[in-house]
Symmetry: C2
Subunit: 139 residues, 2 copies
DNA sequence: TTAAACCTTAGCAATTTACTAGGAATTGTA
DNA sequence: TACAATTCCTAGTAAATTGCTAAGGTTTAA
C-alpha cells in the first residue's frame, strides 16, 4: 500500500503554490526548481488541478498559476481527487452488498476494507492546504 | 494508493482460518475454495505467515494450518508485516530530518506523510483477528 | 518579434503485481 | 507398503501500473 507520486507531488506543488503566490503567479519552473519535480510532469498535474478549479492559470510570458480559492478552503482530498490518486482497498465494488470474489456472499473482510477507506479519506478531508503552510511557518 | 492482494488475501485467509479451525487444521484447498484464491498463491502467503509464527503447519495427509496464538492476540498489522504489505507514503527515508528530494531541507510535506502513515498503522494495530470473526458471527 | 510561459496528447521504459509452474518432502490411511 | 493429500520451496513470467519524457502547439508580456 503506497502513495503514488501523482498524489504526493500534487500536494507538494500546491503547498509550494500556497507559500509563494502571495502577490504574483508562480511558474512551474519555479516549483520544479524548489520541489525537484520535472516541469513536464508538473504540467500534467496542473492540467488536472485546473480542470477541477483548484488553480487558475495565467498564460503567456510572466504567467504561472495561482490558487483558485483560499488555501483554507482546499482540502487535501480535493487535490487527491483532482489528480486521480484513488484510495482503493477493495477489488470488489465499494457499496456492493454481495458479489465479492465471484461468490454470492459478501467477503468476510468487506466491511473492514470499507472502514479503512473511510479512515484514510477522513484524514485527507480534515486537512486543508492552509494547515500545511501554517505548520511550516511555525517552525 | 491501494492495497495489494498480498495484504488483502492474507487477512482474508487468516480470518477464514480463525473461523474454521476450531478443532482441526484447515487445508489450503479449503481456504482456496471458500475465499476463491489459488492454492499456489496461498502457499506463498502461508510460508511467510508461518515464518512470523502467526500460524502452525501440520504436514502430510489431513494436514493443514492452525493459528499459532489466539485470534484475540493477532493484530492485523502483524499479518500485514508478515506478508510484506508495507505502508509507504514517502520516498525519502521515514525518519530522516533532511534529505528529501535530494535537497538539503526536509520537504514541506514530510510530516504530513509521516502522520498519514501513523494514522493507517494505528488502524491496523487496533484491530485484532478476533474482531473480524466476532463481527461476522453477530450478523 | 521573441522568449517565457501554459496546453495537450502520445508514448514508453522500468518496476511491481499477481500470479503460475514444477517438483520435493512429509504423513495419515487403505 | 503404496498412494493420496498435503505442506514446502524456488523460479519464472504476463499484465498492469507507474513515473516519467517527447514533441509540438498556443498565448501573452515586454
Amino acid at each position: 500500500m503506497k502513495l503514488t507520486t501523482k498524489g504526493r507531488y500534487a500536494v507538494m506543488a500546491m503547498a509550494d503554490l500556497a507559500s509563494y503566490s502571495r502577490d504574483k503567479p508562480v511558474s512551474l519552473s519555479e516549483i520544479s526548481a524548489r520541489q525537484n519535480i520535472s516541469i513536464a510532469y508538473l504540467e500534467q498535474l496542473f492540467l488536472r488541478l485546473k480542470n477541477k478549479k483548484l488553480v487558475k492559470s495565467l498564460r503567456g510570458s510572466r504567467g504561472g498559476y495561482v490558487l483558485d480559492k483560499p488555501a483554507a478552503e482546499i482540502k487535501l482530498s480535493n487535490i487527491f481527487y483532482a489528480v486521480n490518486e484513488e484510495i482503493k482497498t477493495l477489488n470488489c465494488k465499494k457499496d456492493s452488498k454481495r458479489g465479492c470474489n465471484n461468490k454470492s456472499v459478501k467477503c468476510i473482510t468487506h466491511d473492514l476494507w470499507d472502514d479503512l477507506e473511510n479512515h484514510i479519506n477522513d484524514f485527507f478531508d480534515k486537512i486543508k492546504l492552509a494547515d500545511l503552510t501554517r505548520k511550516k511557518n511555525e517552525k
